[in-house]
Symmetry: C2
Subunit: 396 residues, 2 copies
């Protein structure tokens, strides 16, 4: 018999302020329900909790889509689910790429055997409707247009409504990645005409990672139901999963019970605050933080008129070492912020102000801690100007 390699201690770890690109800090109410004893996945009491979770998800997605449920995986499982359930080999697809997660959409669409037309955008900017229109004209049989609503690699919020109309006029679906916008930035699936969307629990919902809410409208559902081939992944096959989340309650896989408890509680908190109040709070704190950064002498990356309020990107000043600053913040302040991905690795930081974490205390703390880290690196950030600029936003 092989023996355990060593003794393992009780779980002990630092208490971090999670201001990176996610996971974000989890609301204490949500943490408490994570510790609740389990129900079986077919227990009538659990089925009721599932129904309530579905109703609350429809509220935060602003939709009446029947097919709205959390997939049993983290946010990226949602991207994989939506694309692999809608696409079949040989389909034509248009994907807008102006960041890391757009690239991931392309990778997944190609694995589905689709022919992908990439709209190349600039990192830090949105995809313009004209670019989508050109792409739709060049690929008139495109089955769907995939766009990232909240590009977590660049901090840009992509407008969707006009593009949804364009896609529909060409008989294509609009699929949106809402991982970092759901619950933190305006998102109205039905009003805007978004046909299929996916998100994650670990961003603006202030819930641990582990589920990926998705929503399909009737147009998207019709595409799903008219597939000629089986969905390649059994685990992500919505034609079966909807039978468990729907009225039939047909067993597919054992649902992650505790995570459903947690998501339901997180969504209750959103409903208590009210979606619009929550969007405004995220917007206010993001504007204050951006003003503060400029006050410190830093430059933000994203197009100012398309700022993602839940995730702010900022250029690292020349001469300042990325890793050293992030390590300083973690060690001295227990603050996590994120580094850049792909072509902007080492060039930007990503600061998340998501869910419960989007508050004045964190804005102020992050500005002060960052100015301290920058001074260690020889960059004279003006903490007084930074704080004054942030305060001015709150006062206005």
């Amino acid at each position: 018999m092989l023996q355990p390699k060593r003794e393992y201690t009780d779980l002990m770890h630092s208490e971090r302020v999670l201001l990176g690109p996610g996971p974000s800090g989890v609301d204490p109410r949500v943490l408490r329900v994570m510790a609740a004893p389990l129900l079986g996945h077919l227990d009538p009491e659990f089925l009721r909790l599932m129904d309530e979770t579905g109703e609350l998800l429809r509220y935060v997605f602003q939709t009446e889509n029947d097919l709205t449920l959390p997939m049993s995986g983290t946010g990226s499982a949602g991207m994989d689910t939506v694309l692999s359930n809608l696409l079949e080999p040989g389909d034509q697809v248009i994907v807008g790429v102006c960041g890391y997660f757009g690239q991931r959409m392309v990778d997944i669409a190609r694995r589905c055997g689709a022919e992908v037309a990439v709209i190349e955008g600039e990192w830090g900017r949105i995809i313009e409707p004209e670019q989508v229109e050109d792409a739709l004209e060049a690929m008139p049989h495109a089955k769907l247009v995939g766009l990232v609503h909240a590009e977590t690699s660049t901090g840009v919020l992509q407008p969707l409504k006009e593009i949804a109309a364009l896609a529909h006029s060409h008989d294509a679906l609009l699929v949106a990645d809402c991982v970092t916008s759901l619950g933190g930035a305006p998102l109205k699936l039905d009003e805007w005409g978004v046909d299929a969307a996916y998100s994650g629990t670990q961003k603006c919902l202030s819930c641990p990672p582990g589920l990926s809410p998705i929503s399909f409208n009737e147009r998207a559902r019709a595409v799903l139901n008219s597939r000629k081939t089986k969905v390649p992944s059994w685990y992500l096959d919505l034609t079966m999963i909807e039978r468990y989340w729907g009225k039939e309650r047909f067993y597919h896989h054992t649902a992650p019970i505790s995570m459903v408890y947690a998501l339901r509680e997180a969504l209750r908190i959103v409903a208590e605050e009210g979606l619009e109040a929550r969007w405004e709070r995220h917007d206010l704190n993001a504007r204050a933080f951006c003003a503060g950064l400029e006050g410190l002498g830093l430059k933000t990356m994203a197009q100012p008129q398309h700022l993602l309020p839940s995730l702010i990107t900022v250029w690292i000043p020349s001469g300042v070492e990325d890793g050293a600053v992030r390590q300083f913040l973690l060690q001295e302040y227990d603050i996590e912020i994120g580094g850049g991905l792909g072509p902007v690795k080492g060039q930007i930081w990503r600061v998340g102000l998501m869910g419960t974490n989007s508050n004045r205390k964190n804005v102020t703390l992050a500005l002060v801690a960052l100015s301290s880290a920058l001074r260690e690196q020889g960059f004279q950030a003006s903490v007084a100007e930074g704080l004054a600029a942030a305060d001015a936003v709150y006062a206005s």
Copy 2:
């Protein structure tokens, strides 16, 4: 704006004794760590917890396989992962089917584009080595043999060692479904020569559902690394996921932090008890429960010499209504047991004695509650004989 449909109450639910096919009851220590605040998925402190979880997983799988990690999905995600990472279109595969989960393997292998030879077994019995040998001779280029080690639909424990040797002598891999055996029944990947295996957290590990531990030895890894095509599901692509769980720490998806805390704690508890002691405990309680069932006047379903100690199947006596009994147990005793799947739906019950739930208290309680439910249905179960038979096993 759409508004929430109603007010949603605090999470409130009954405290169940989970004696179904899973999820099983979760150890209170595991529930406590579920409520711990989150670390980031690249936090050095979290990376250490991942390493420890990997070490502990190797212990419970009895393997030194480097590629041993928990997939971010429930048990069935593991089945999908193992098969879709090893198989490519056109591959030939042999699958033993003597229950529901063997059938699922066939479904998944076919989605991978494989040609599947099914060994048809009898529900409630094992697949015999001779059947596998015949299949290997009929399909000499089979890439792998897939077998369910612990068939949760029938309560049968499939011997693997002899079949692993047979598979290897035909240059095929042996893949085993260990969802309901890991931590509850003898399982020694390295000694037996199992090349790839998967499991779930919500059975004999007494941890909530949400992760699927998998393990690949070097033979299986060589197959993975020599793929000609990309793994169809991006989310389940081990060639990327092993770069996050391995030394590189390359970002793939945001790990379900709380579930990793929980799995580590659950595995610590297994290590503290010791695997062999744990296997013996499961075996003792299963034997006592089976003796008790016979004492009540019931007949168990599985081949007695291949009884799965974590899940016992029992025939429903004629004239007794399946649903009424299960509802009685739930309402009067807060006990969940499982019904039959597929061809034995309505004909058997499935009683799980898994992890912390495998104890004398539950054996006794289940026998008493079941005899009470049966009397309600007009079946005169002899509770005294049932309890005496169980006690005799404990006394021997």
